[in-house]
């Protein structure tokens, strides 16, 4: 088991390095840098001015070098610019070059500086992750139990009318992307044209103070999309368990149906959905981006859109490191959990 986890972590680090390098490469392509220079400097810069601007700030070094500096395995650049000013990657504003540390990258805990929000990337990400964490917590709290209940109810009598209607319902929720269901929810529950006005159409106020009124719609929107899939997995695994030998034995023994479902079937039926729930995290991440944009909730997904839209390289890298990390860790947990929960599978 230990060796398995170690190997998985090795692959995970390799994956994370590859992915961040891809993001780094794509954001550092020359047209992107040119756009960046023009938004930072001014829009009427000539091509030569753009080149000197970028060169003075170390952007025209080879991509691998820049990546090493960002990661913190290569010493940060010290460049004497054409304007006579010496700039160093690691020097804080106002700090003399000589006193600046040699290495400053992610490994040293320095995530860089966001050019759109004008703050340290590390701080921004922590704050935004907190906000999104609250959202995710409520999503999970709504999604997982309702999905499991739906799946178990549908799967305990396969082919029954209840099964058919619940299955159709879960197909419909998976077929409704967040931007469609969100808009429909807002139109029905939040606008005065329909007249219900039960909830608020934006979640901006939920950043300070979460209430049922301002937070239910975004949570419902994300949960609805993920719910159908988990419910279908639970149904499939429940239906399989219900046809197995030991359930038949219990039935013939005269155990009552609710008892069979609760005591005998449920535990085994929930192994497969566990991995699916963990693997839903990357999908939830997508949902979070859409829903945070839709409901104007300034969390992690909103930051991703902001950073990507403005080619804010270091913020975007920070965001992608975190999201890739979330994806990989949940994959690892789901694998380990699967092995742990299912005694029939062994790693060696």
């Amino acid at each position: 088991m230990g060796k398995f986890i170690l190997r998985r972590i090795g692959v995970m680090i390799l994956t994370a390095l590859c992915l961040t390098f891809i993001v780094f490469f794509l954001t550092n392509l020359y047209p992107n840098l040119e756009k960046f220079a023009k938004t930072q400097g001014n829009f009427r810069m000539s091509d030569e001015e753009v080149a000197t601007f970028l060169n003075n700030r170390g952007y025209l070094q080879p991509t691998v070098t820049k990546y090493g500096q960002w990661l913190g395995v290569l010493p940060g650049y010290v460049i004497e610019g054409t304007d006579g000013k010496v700039r160093a990657r690691c020097a804080a504003p106002g700090q003399p070059i000589e006193e600046a540390p040699r290495f400053c990258g992610v490994l040293q805990g320095n995530w860089g500086f966001s050019t759109t929000i004008k703050e340290d990337v590390g701080g921004i990400i922590l704050e935004k992750l907190g906000l999104t964490g609250i959202l995710m917590f409520w999503v999970m709290l709504l999604m997982v139990p309702s999905a499991l209940i739906l799946g178990v109810l549908a799967g305990m009598r396969e082919g029954s009318r209840l099964d058919r209607s619940l299955s159709t319902f879960s197909i419909s929720t998976t077929a409704t992307p967040e931007y469609v269901s969100g808009v429909l929810f807002i139109a029905i529950f939040a606008s005065s044209a329909v007249g219900l006005k039960w909830f608020k159409g934006t979640a901006t106020s939920a950043m300070d103070n979460v209430t049922f009124e301002n937070f239910f719609l975004p949570v419902l929107t994300i949960a609805a999309y993920g719910m159908g899939y988990i419910a279908r997995m639970t149904r499939a695994s429940m239906a399989e368990v219900m046809t197995s030998q030991y359930i038949r034995t219990a039935r013939l023994k005269g155990v009552s149906f609710p008892n069979i479902v609760m005591k005998h079937a449920l535990r085994n039926a929930l192994i497969a959905p566990f991995t699916v729930i963990m693997l839903q995290f990357p999908w939830l991440l997508n949902g979070v981006v859409i829903v945070e944009t839709l409901f104007n909730y300034k969390g992690f997904g909103w930051t991703l859109v902001l950073a990507a839209g403005n080619n804010d390289i270091e913020l975007l890298l920070g965001v992608s490191v975190i999201s890739v990390f979330v994806v990989l860790v949940t994959q690892l947990i789901s694998d380990i959990g699967y092995v742990y929960l299912n005694p029939r599978i062994s790693v060696s």
């Binding site: 392509l29 469609v180 934006t202 997508n286 991703l304 999201s323």
Partner: protein, 397 residues
């Protein structure tokens, strides 16, 4: 302009008239299919399941709509790009009028579903949006399947280092949050660098490779027949390939605008790793069967076994996934539009229309966001129901 606005009943009636050719064709195709359903194989069996029939009806509805709108210019009432200052945020059923200039005499008399914030007809824009989706989503899915199958078959069949490397690469792409990937790939700046063209050059070669191997593995004992098939495939394939990927069609017939190409490439790129994983898993399962062992004993080549023994036996799950994946691709296209990526600012795109209408929901203007949302919903729902019907019927075999 002294015409009155239409009531909701009249609007629905008018829409029925606009959709008449679509509905007639739909009824005809259903009547024919129901009559001959015993002779139509799996497609005919679909008509035994209610969910499958509903799904098929929804999908065919949009396919026919796109067909009539795109080929005969029929269903829509107005030009989707035509703006009218009089019609800004007009309510559904408002009579069509223009502040400046004379209205187009061929255009309909009413904005059936109202006007958007620039005074364009919402109904016509939804119809125009369907053309794009129906054109791109199935083709992108076919390409993703070609890539996934061509790589997944040998990965599952041979295993070993080839499989390890490809699985690692596909996990790499799958670990990317899709929206981040879109934001990185589908920008005008990336189009400038030419990366989408190179990606297209790599991804679009797979269908060609697939077909060449397919013919060669089957007919290599009959060189005459093989050469004819290969020649036809290569001539047509290379022609389409040059036109689509490199925009260098010698006849100048096939060309894809760069912003459509980048969307297409991004969608294929996101979908193919999942297809790869599904195919690989199916091959791992099927290659232990007796008929594969029989073919091996017969001395058949590995590609013959993969393409003519294993692949046909994996068709059920692949067909179901194909339907689901078209739906997912439609969702992805909507997502791209939602974030305003990869399209001209004016073009009618369901995702773009939804986010534009979203901004007016708080002002209680619902008719701009709801129609495209319902259009996308019904199409994806139809595809999912269709997939469910297919799954049920193919399991029954």
């Amino acid at each position: 302009m002294n015409k009155d606005a239409l009531s909701w009943g009249a609007i629905i009636g008018q829409m029925g008239i606009q959709f008449a050719p679509v509905l007639i064709l739909l009824v005809i195709s259903f009547a024919l299919s129901l009559t001959f359903k015993r002779r139509l194989g799996l497609y005919g069996k679909l008509f035994d399941s209610t969910v499958g029939m509903i799904g098929l009806a929804l999908v065919l509805f949009w396919v026919f709509t796109a067909f009539f709108a795109g080929v005969f210019d029929m269903v829509a009432t107005h030009n989707p790009l035509d703006q009218s200052a009089m019609m800004k945020k007009a309510l559904p059923g408002t009579p069509y009028s223009k502040l400046i200039g004379t209205p187009d005499p061929d255009a309909g008399a009413y904005y059936l579903l109202g006007g958007d914030n620039l005074g364009r007809d919402v109904f016509s824009r939804v119809i125009a949006g369907s053309i794009k989706v129906i054109l791109i989503a199935p083709f992108a899915t076919v390409f993703a399947f070609m890539v996934g199958i061509t790589l997944g078959l040998p990965a599952g069949y041979y295993g070993g280092r080839f499989d390890t490397v490809l699985s690692f690469l596909s996990n790499l792409v799958l670990a990317f949050p899709v929206i981040l990937l879109f934001y990185l790939l589908v920008t005008p700046e990336i189009v400038q660098t030419g990366i989408p063209v190179y990606m297209a050059a790599v991804l679009f070669i797979f269908p060609l490779v697939f077909l060449v191997i397919l013919w060669n593995s089957r007919y290599h004992t009959q060189p005459m027949k093989r050469n004819v098939y290969l020649a036809i495939t290569l001539v047509i394939g290379l022609w389409v390939y040059l036109g689509m990927a490199w925009d260098a069609d010698p006849l100048g017939l096939i060309s894809v605008p760069p912003n459509v190409l980048v969307v297409f490439v991004a969608v294929v790129f996101v979908n193919s790793p999942t297809v790869f994983r599904i195919v690989r898993g199916l091959v791992l399962d099927i290659k232990t069967r007796d008929y594969v062992a029989a073919a091996q004993t017969r001395g058949e080549g590995p590609w013959y076994i993969m393409l003519w023994e294993i692949l046909p036996n994996a068709r059920g799950p692949l067909l179901v996934d194909f339907c689901l994946r078209i739906g997912y691709t439609t969702i992805l296209l909507g997502t791209l539009g939602f974030f305003g990526l990869g399209l001209e600012s004016e073009s009618p795109d369901w995702g773009k229309m939804i986010i534009d209408g979203r901004r007016l929901l708080s002002a209680n203007i619902l008719h701009i966001a709801i129609p495209p949302a319902l259009a996308l919903l019904t199409l994806v729902l139809g595809l999912n129901f269709l997939a469910d019907g297919l799954r049920e019927e193919s399991l029954r075999d």
